[in-house]
């Protein structure tokens, strides 16, 4: 049932187009897909450096994103500023604990998880660890799949700014929402520039040994 030996595309000197799936022969340097013309690489170029840069930028912007207000509600009784966390607390106090949990997960847990996961992936790949490659592959796909839900609070503010425009009550966007939107975009770009094949490049030496033993049977 299970394949005794897994060959990789780079061993065979081929590369699959990320856009259309076409297989192309790849010897060296940059080539373009013979079917759709997309630029092909054996591994994403400068994957680790780009991911580090985008991730660090996102982590720095995450600080003002949480400290600065994302919106200001002005009414007769004065104005009230809300950060992401105080917005969650307000939902909780209003009795919508289910939405409070959703917003907390999307706006606070998901970005933090994404930072932690990308740090683990980057450091383990740089140290050429063969450790739990399949687990790390799952981790990468998880953070890639859920990251965009963090835009939730940005869209809440977008809609409220347009809706709450009464003489006595208005909602204005705060600077925090700009930083938060940028954090989400940067973390998405960071996980897109990370090449999950790097996880397996270093796991290979271990896999090879096992695979060869099977072949000798």
């Amino acid at each position: 049932m299970s394949e005794p030996r897994i060959s990789t595309a780079s061993e065979l000197g081929i590369v699959a187009c990320h856009c259309c799936g076409q297989l192309c022969r790849h010897v060296q340097g940059d080539i373009c897909c013979s079917r759709c013309g997309a630029r092909l690489h054996r591994r994403k170029p400068d994957s680790l450096a780009r991911t580090w840069a985008l991730l660090l930028a996102a982590m720095i912007l995450y600080i003002p994103a949480n400290l600065l207000p994302i919106m200001r509600t002005g009414s007769l009784f004065g104005s009230e500023s809300n950060t992401i966390l105080s917005g969650v607390a307000e939902l909780w106090r209003a009795g919508s604990w289910d939405l409070a949990v959703i917003v907390f997960v999307a706006s606070i847990m998901v970005p933090l998880m994404k930072f932690a996961a990308l740090l683990v992936l980057l450091i383990s790949v740089q140290r050429r660890k063969a450790w739990r490659a399949r687990g790390r592959a799952h981790l990468f796909r998880l953070v890639e799949g859920i990251g965009y839900w963090s835009m939730l609070d940005v869209f809440v503010v977008t809609l409220l700014v347009a809706l709450v425009r009464f003489q006595l009550t208005q909602v204005d966007p705060g600077p925090g929402v700009v930083y938060f939107g940028l954090v989400v975009v940067l973390t998405m770009l960071a996980s897109m520039s990370f090449d999950p094949r790097l996880i397996w490049d270093h796991a290979e030496s271990v896999d090879d040994g096992k695979a060869e033993e099977v072949e000798h049977d």
Partner: protein
């Protein structure tokens, strides 16, 4: 190389090479090494995909023409469409947010619907869609950035946040967005690379 080129699949996530098998409807092939999805055969036929794309186009139109919700307080009412929200954030000095919302909620979903419809419509008629290659590359690039489902949840959060101060009246826009969320999820679940196979089957 050439004869085997269509029978091999390479895992995008770990570079392992697999031999391709024909799948039954709804089946998914996963990588033996890292378990990522290699390719899938959708439940829906080309005709039903095209119908979904058309339905999504109509829903997109309704969702953007009608207001999403109306708020009422002491006889004053205020309502907004998505585009008004985009303009309002622009005017309030958070241009970055406005541009992100315009791209992720308006332009990218619109392009997805129109380009899918265009490509599937021509393939259905057995013709090569004009501009096929650039269209496929655009569809591939914008897919992660189209976020109608996040906006749908955001609308719900926004409504609950202001629900105890204002009277909230749901407008047709919100139902159209809900329908669009489902339709777009179905349309976008269609593996773009599958379309290259369809194209080979019908136009060579």
């Amino acid at each position: 190389m050439e004869p085997s080129a269509h029978s091999l699949v390479i895992c995008e996530h770990c570079d392992a090479v697999h031999r391709k098998h024909e799948l039954a409807r709804g089946e998914v092939a996963r990588c033996v090494r890292c378990q990522a999805v290699l390719y899938r055969r959708p439940w829906l036929s080309l005709d039903s995909m095209f119908a979904l794309a058309l339905a999504a186009a109509i829903t997109f139109f309704i969702a953007n023409v009608w207001p999403i919700v109306t708020l009422e307080l002491n006889g004053h009412a205020s309502s907004a469409t998505l585009w008004q929200a985009i303009v309002a954030t622009w005017n309030d000095g958070v241009g970055v947010v406005s541009v992100l919302a315009a791209l992720m909620l308006f332009f990218f979903p619109m392009l997805q619907v129109l380009l899918f419809g265009w490509v599937l419509g021509f393939l259905r008629a057995g013709r090569l869609p004009p501009g096929f290659i650039p269209i496929m590359r655009v569809l591939h690039a914008i897919r992660p950035w189209s976020m109608v489902e996040v906006f749908m949840l955001g609308t719900l959060v926004a409504v609950v946040k202001v629900g105890d101060i204002f009277e909230v009246i749901l407008q047709p826009g919100i139902w159209a967005f809900a329908a669009l969320t489902v339709l777009l999820a179905l349309v976008a679940s269609f593996d773009v690379r599958r379309i290259w196979l369809l194209k080979r089957e019908c136009c060579g």
